[in-house]
């Protein structure tokens, strides 16, 4: 869609529709530190880093159609190289502090060129497996190379002031991270809109056709891989900058998994989808982890629900809804309301079940039962004490699930029926039973 194809008026309207929400969000992000305590500011720094990382990751998946299961390597390598540069600054090097993330980005870009050349020889599952293999090999080397990467104790450094900017307060770090995240996302946006971006999408759709148009797709995919690695490395660099330390644990699978989950939940098909996912899961992990030990299970459940019922992620749902509203077709509010209510009921039922089971299987629960003389001492969930074995509790949970099943009967699809998504409900398509 080259710009000259659009009439000036519609493009102006599109600009307003697109720019306005972005401007609002940006304003909120800039004004946020006035209202945030240190913990929340730190959480937002982590959100920015996760968002940039996921955006870099999604260049590969959303644009080029390649799913990497080992992107932690580039994220971590960027972090390592940034901390080394920080240490060099500490030691008197004149590298300007504000450009630190570029050091990480450049290092990961170079590494991505090499790794990407190998990985993009193949596609699909084989591509994924090569990324896993490379990650394992790099991890094995890095973990043993203590003099370079600092082992599991890691490397620590300290942020050095640059001119008037001290970089000592978390506030400085927040604005710094935010700025670089926006720069990174803008870079990816221009890449997507560039001629090269068009070719990359072409590769995702019909690679052979692109080859027969004279493009060296292997070289292009290597480049895309390297850019993706570079942006991820920049995100890693921001993490090193924030934490003032790195260690080899960054190279482990968890950081490959998180970015994948963020992208799936947010939606790979929409440009800013990964940002949505990264924001949601980072804040979820940051705050819910202190409320329940089963937060990973909830996260897994959310992931599964998204994969099965909203394959285009949360942002995909949003885009579908907006498209639907714009097209002027009526929204089935009744269906949508029932759907939302149904999911809410099922969610509450699931949380009750998990929390009760989790509490009851603890050894300390047994000890409490013995010392108090009550067979089933009450458990607090949702600020109410429940007796886990009482018919009231069990019946209540059963009722929640039953109610959910009734409400979702026609909208969610059952085992024997075809899948119908939340998007269908928004789009007003009735389920098979209606």
């Amino acid at each position: 869609m080259p710009p000259q194809e659009q009439s000036p008026r519609s493009s102006a309207r599109v600009t307003v529709v697109r720019i306005l929400p972005i401007a609002l969000v940006l304003g909120a992000l800039i004004g946020l530190p006035r209202f945030a305590d240190m913990a929340f500011l730190n959480a937002m720094v982590m959100v920015c880093i996760a968002a940039l990382y996921a955006m870099g990751y999604n260049l590969l998946w959303g644009q080029a159609g390649l799913i990497s299961f080992g992107h932690a390597t580039y994220f971590a390598f960027g972090a390592s190289c940034t901390i080394m540069t920080m240490a060099a600054i500490e030691g008197g090097s004149s590298f300007p502090t504000p450009l630190l993330p570029l050091a990480g980005g450049a290092a990961s870009f170079l590494m991505g060129l090499v790794a990407g050349w190998f990985a993009t020889i193949r596609t699909g599952v084989y591509f994924a497996m090569i990324t896993v293999a490379i990650t394992e090999l790099v991890r094995a080397i890095v973990q043993r190379w203590d003099s370079m990467f600092g082992g599991e104790a890691g490397i620590t450094s300290i942020r050095m002031a640059w001119g008037p900017i001290g970089f000592q307060k978390l506030l400085d770090v927040y604005y710094f991270t935010l700025a670089w995240t926006i720069i990174g996302i803008l870079l990816l946006w221009f890449l997507q809109r560039s001629p090269l971006g068009t070719v990359i999408r072409g590769i995702r759709e019909q690679e052979e056709r692109v080859r027969f148009l004279g493009y060296d797709t292997h070289a292009l995919k290597t480049l895309v891989f390297a850019i993706s690695a570079g942006v991820s490395g920049m995100a890693g660099g921001l993490l090193a900058f924030t934490n003032e330390s790195t260690n080899v644990a960054l190279y482990e699978g968890a950081y490959s998994t998180t970015v994948l989950i963020n992208t799936v939940i947010g939606g790979a098909g929409v440009f800013l989808g990964p940002v949505v996912g990264a924001t949601l899961t980072t804040l979820f992990g940051y705050y819910v982890a202190n409320l329940t030990y089963y937060w990973l299970l909830y996260m897994g459940l959310l992931f599964m629900v998204i994969v099965v019922y909203a394959p285009r992620g949360i942002s995909g749902l949003g885009v579908d809804a907006v498209r639907r509203l714009r097209s002027g077709a009526p929204v089935r509010w009744d269906l949508l309301g029932r759907f939302a209510l149904g999911w809410l009921v099922v969610t509450i039922g699931a949380i009750m079940t998990i929390e009760l089971i989790g509490a009851v299987v603890q050894p300390s629960y047994g000890a409490l039962a013995r010392s108090s003389g009550v067979a089933w001492p009450p458990v607090r969930v949702f600020w109410v004490s429940w007796s886990p074995a009482s018919p009231l509790t069990l019946g209540g949970i059963a009722l929640l699930f039953g109610l959910g099943a009734v409400l979702l009967r026609d909208t969610a699809g059952t085992a024997s029926r075809n899948v119908s998504t939340l998007a269908d409900a928004i789009a007003g398509k009735p389920g098979p039973g209606v």
């Binding site: 799913i67 190998f118 020889i121 193949r122 699909g124 599952v125 084989y126 994924a128 497996m129 090569i130 896993v132 293999a133 490379i134 394992e136 090999l137 991890r139 094995a140 080397i141 043993r144 190379w145 203590d146 003099s147 370079m148 998994t257 994948l260 799936v264 089963y294 990973l296 299970l297 996260m299 897994g300 459940l301 992931f303 599964m304 994969v307 099965v308 394959p311 998990i354 089971i357 989790g358 299987v361 699809g413 085992a415 075809n418 899948v419």
Partner: protein, 311 residues
């Protein structure tokens, strides 16, 4: 010589264990094109199922119960979940199994806690099978190997000599053709998925008595079995067996090598190039990553794997 023989035997038994877990995965992968991330989770579930049921039905009964139970879990996973996302393509299927892998581990942690449970080799199986030199070879390791071999020949025969096997083999080769011939491919898929899961469950029940039965079990074997499937070649049972044995023997021998990276650099005449801090690292300490190096090599050199004929 004895040491060599023992290392070889150990490598083979470990390779056979890996094969047990990979067998179902490679069949499912070959036929459905889905690299089932949750396969190793089924292996873990097998160990837990055998642990739970073993108290009531004994060790051998536990093996049967675990196989059947995990087969059922596989069947339900396919019919209730995987089937729903099939229309969205392989990527979505891959993500779904990835989510399952994640979920199963968390559910097991919820129910059984994060630490290992007491599922272990029954005392009556703790005896020496034979002796090589000074080394005594325990019976249950032999049992693990034997189970794998029975599994291999059983599956092989089922694929080769039964009608269902014929359909499955055909479906692995040309999925669209088989449905065109009027076979109910979805049912074949479900069945194959259930059988693949059941094989993983049996493997878990057998291996879980030797390995710690803990929520980390799936993670520990998970990536190795992918490596085997990729190296062995799409859907090839023979390839998976060869790859498993190779990996088993290779790791077993690598452990005995005491040379370091520094030695390698010197041997190559690159001592000047030796990276500081890395030359003292022993090869034996990186035995665990050899399979990945092998996989990388195979993928680049012979992308379809040992026995694969389709890229």
């Amino acid at each position: 010589m004895d040491a060599f023989l023992v290392a070889l035997l150990n490598g083979l038994v470990y390779g056979l264990l890996v094969f047990m877990v990979s067998a179902g995965l490679t069949l499912v992968f070959g036929m459905m094109g889905v690299l089932n991330f949750a396969h190793a989770s089924f292996y873990m579930l097998g160990a837990y199922a055998a642990f739970l049921s073993g108290r009531y039905v004994g060790f051998w009964g536990g093996l049967v119960v675990a196989t059947l139970a995990v087969g059922l879990v596989g069947l339900f996973s396919e019919r209730l979940l995987l089937r729903k996302v099939r229309s969205f393509g392989h990527t979505q299927e891959l993500l779904l199994t990835y989510g399952l892998f994640f979920m199963i581990e968390e559910v097991v942690k919820l129910l059984f806690g994060p630490t290992p449970v007491a599922y272990r080799v029954p005392d009556e199986l703790r005896f020496t099978a034979f002796t090589i030199g000074n080394s005594q070879f325990p019976f249950f390791r032999l049992l693990m190997g034997a189970t794998a071999l029975v599994m291999f020949f059983g599956t092989f025969a089922a694929l080769r000599f039964t009608r269902i096997g014929l359909i499955v083999r055909a479906a692995v080769e040309r999925p669209q053709m088989v449905s065109a011939l009027g076979h109910n491919v979805p049912i074949v898929f479900s069945g194959l998925f259930a059988v693949g899961s059941a094989l993983a469950g049996l493997a878990g029940a057998v291996a879980g008595m030797y390995y710690p039965t803990s929520p980390a079990m799936a993670h520990e074997l998970g990536s190795i079995v992918f490596v085997v499937v990729v190296i062995g070649g799409l859907g090839s049972l023979n390839g998976a067996l060869a790859a498993s044995l190779l990996i088993g023997v290779m790791t077993s021998f690598a452990v005995g090598i005491e040379s370091t990276f520094g030695d390698l650099f010197r041997a190559l005449g690159l001592s000047g190039l030796a990276l500081p801090g890395l030359e003292a690292v022993q090869f034996s300490s990186i035995a665990g990553v050899l399979p990945y190096a092998l996989m990388l090599f195979v993928l680049l050199w012979r992308p379809a794997g040992f026995a694969g004929n389709r890229a």
